[in-house]
């Protein structure tokens, strides 16, 4: 049970803190019931179930503020009839418990904050597009209709923030690799290039999970400051591709190849709106020449966004996103015969329209991804109605379309789904 060490240590510390000053603890939470159905049968990849989500989730959020720091524990208890795997696994979020946070934030020095334990980490400027945010994402939750916050999966990490005068510096160390909760076929069928067909819940992925402590570790860095109202940031990451995009023919397993990322971003007001620009270089360290067909090439990534309020309670946000492969000629030359050749550049445009009505109790949102190079896209319409301070109702859909079955969004076309949810917060 080595994998739970950090969690257990933090839980023990939490209990000590609890015993010390039980009265100052605050708790909140919610109960959330959600159900999602495929719009049509998915027979392409074995027999995928029609119901894609059928869960009852309760979250408890405990926190304690003291002068010297903050304790935080936040966990979900889930009963999900549609889950494919029931064995408890805090890493993949499978099972009855999804521990979202269990950490302590303390202040060893006036200019230093440290947060230790399980935590949700986010940075970067994109809206549902990520370049320098290499923290784990839960794509499955994102595609089946869970609340948007579940796109972020927890990390077991040490987060150190330094605040010298010239900038703020964040360093995150994950002693053991935190992969994305990637699409594995469990609920969402996907295009598997190794099988050369769609894979579903019966196609077990053989994945080398990279679970060695302090050897399969990750480090992330951000240096940021405000320059005349513009937020400027530089990023670095040393770790691994977050999904198993590599393949090791010897062990016949999919792998997380080594990856370094360097990037920068700027964000600020422009005219009557808000703009952001972010770029990064993905240095695929095990395939620097780009001639290994089993490991992704290095690539450049770029993101430009602009958001503006069109009228009161209606806003629009537009983003352009680019992935541009390095050493493309080597990629072409070494690509195995019969494989589908990827384009050098993948272009994606996104548009978010958000509307608030009835005293901001009704929130309508439409987020659209569209790739003119892959000829595919993804629509996320959603509605949230706050019936009272405690009760919210959700309706939404995840709609994929594409000309080909092997492109990023096109591969999910058989997983179009509609969901409804209700949440009681207390």
């Amino acid at each position: 049970m080595v994998r739970y060490h950090i969690t257990i240590i933090v839980a023990a510390l939490l209990l000590l803190g609890l015993a010390g000053s039980a009265s100052a603890w605050q708790w909140h939470g919610f109960v959330d019931g959600r159900s999602g159905m495929r719009l049509h049968e998915d027979n392409g990849a074995g027999e995928q179930r029609r119901s894609i989500l059928n869960e009852l989730r309760a979250q408890v959020d405990l926190s304690h503020n003291a002068d010297w720091g903050v304790w935080q524990i936040r966990s979900d208890v889930i009963l999900d009839e549609a889950a494919g795997q029931r064995n408890a696994d805090l890493e993949s979020g499978h099972g009855v418990i999804d521990l979202r946070e269990a950490n302590v934030l303390f202040l060893p020095h006036d200019l230093v904050d440290v947060k230790l334990g399980r935590q949700i980490l986010t940075w970067g400027t994109g809206d549902l597009l990520f370049i320098n945010d290499m923290f784990p994402k839960d794509w499955q939750s994102f595609f089946i209709g869970r609340d948007e916050e579940y796109l972020k999966a927890p990390s077991d990490a040490v987060f150190i923030s330094l605040f010298p005068d010239f900038a703020s510096i964040d360093v995150v160390y994950n002693p053991r690799f935190d992969a994305d909760r990637y699409i594995s076929g469990e609920r969402i069928s996907y295009w598997n290039p190794l099988l050369n067909r769609h894979a579903g819940r019966d196609d077990e992925l053989r994945v080398d999970r990279r679970s060695r402590w302090f050897r399969d570790d990750e480090i992330s860095l951000r240096i940021y400051r405000d320059v005349a109202g513009y937020e400027l940031a530089f990023y670095g990451y040393d770790g691994f591709w977050k999904s198993p995009v590599g393949y090791d023919p010897v062990s016949a397993r999919q792998t997380f190849p080594a990856l370094r990322v360097l990037g920068a971003s700027i964000r600020g007001n422009a005219g009557s709106g808000l703009f952001n620009l972010e770029a990064g270089y993905y240095d695929s360290r095990c395939d620097r020449d780009g001639d290994d067909p089993l490991i992704p090439n290095s690539e450049y990534r770029l993101l430009v966004g602009y958001e503006q309020e069109l009228m009161r309670n209606l806003s629009a946000a537009l983003q352009y996103y680019l992935e541009y492969m390095d050493d493309y000629s080597y990629y072409q030359r070494t690509l195995p015969v019969g494989s589908v050749e990827k384009d050098r550049a993948r272009h994606v445009l996104t548009l978010r329209l958000s509307r608030q009505a009835f005293n901001q109790n009704l929130l309508l949102s439409l987020f659209t991804y569209w790739s003119p190079s892959d000829h595919d896209g993804y629509l996320r319409p959603s509605l949230k109605y706050k019936a009272s301070d405690a009760l919210s109702i959700y309706v939404g859909a995840n709609l994929f379309f594409g000309q080909r079955s092997d492109t990023f969004f096109g591969q999910f076309e058989d997983n179009n789904n509609l969901y409804v949810g209700i949440r009681y917060s207390l």
């Binding site: 919610f30 934030l105 703020s168 808000l274 009161r312």
Partner: protein, 263 residues
Amino acid sequence: MKILLKMTIMLCIIGLGAFSAIAQELSADEVIERANQASYYAGQDGQADVKMTITSKGGITREREFSLLRLSETGGNQKFYTYFKAPADVYKMAYLVWKNIGDNDDRWLWLPALNLKKRIAPGDKRTSFVGSDFVYEDVSGRSPQADIHRLVEQTQSYYLIENTPKDPSSVEFSRYTVRIDALTFLPLIAEYYDRSGQLYRRVEALQVKEIQGFPTVMVARASDLVSGSVTRNEFTNVRYNIGLKAKIFTERFLRRPPREVTR
């Protein structure tokens, strides 16, 4: 006899003081500027806990509770930190505003479930604040330069000023009048008229109390006369000049809310 004399002198001084305040020939612009100072710039910094109750025409109520920190900087620029405690679905969210005079405000929302500091695009300041009958401008102040001010009436106890927007297309009102207390310069009643000249909105100070020498609105009410919705704000734990530092109004203290708001 001596006591009587003293009392007479004191009464004269008080009377003179009150008289001099009234007798000052203040222009409409000066009154509005003083009202702006009294409402939004009391002390170098300040804090308050706010309980907001929104009551719809049908009697359904929604409640918000938040703590507010405010710091005045040079040139009228200010920083605001709003930390939400209720309702439960916004618990621990924080809203950070850097108010820039003559430019768009910089605004961020802290989303605790994502540990994310989300920048918010500049918005219409006449938008409802957290779904209440108050608008953003009621919270952070409307620029005195945005309107043309005319003194309509002046009495011993108040000034009545009529305000006409310089850019009518940017706001939902055609004009508004505001009654300003002649002693404290706090706006007591503001009434907004739509383009057809109909009164449709009222904002009132229901209770004023002096705290550390600063006259302070302790209960305020905004009424939407068309929808029938009413929002009441009650302020408690108001304190001024508590020595807030500018660094409180940064990402560091969104991640780790300062004790001034978590108490």
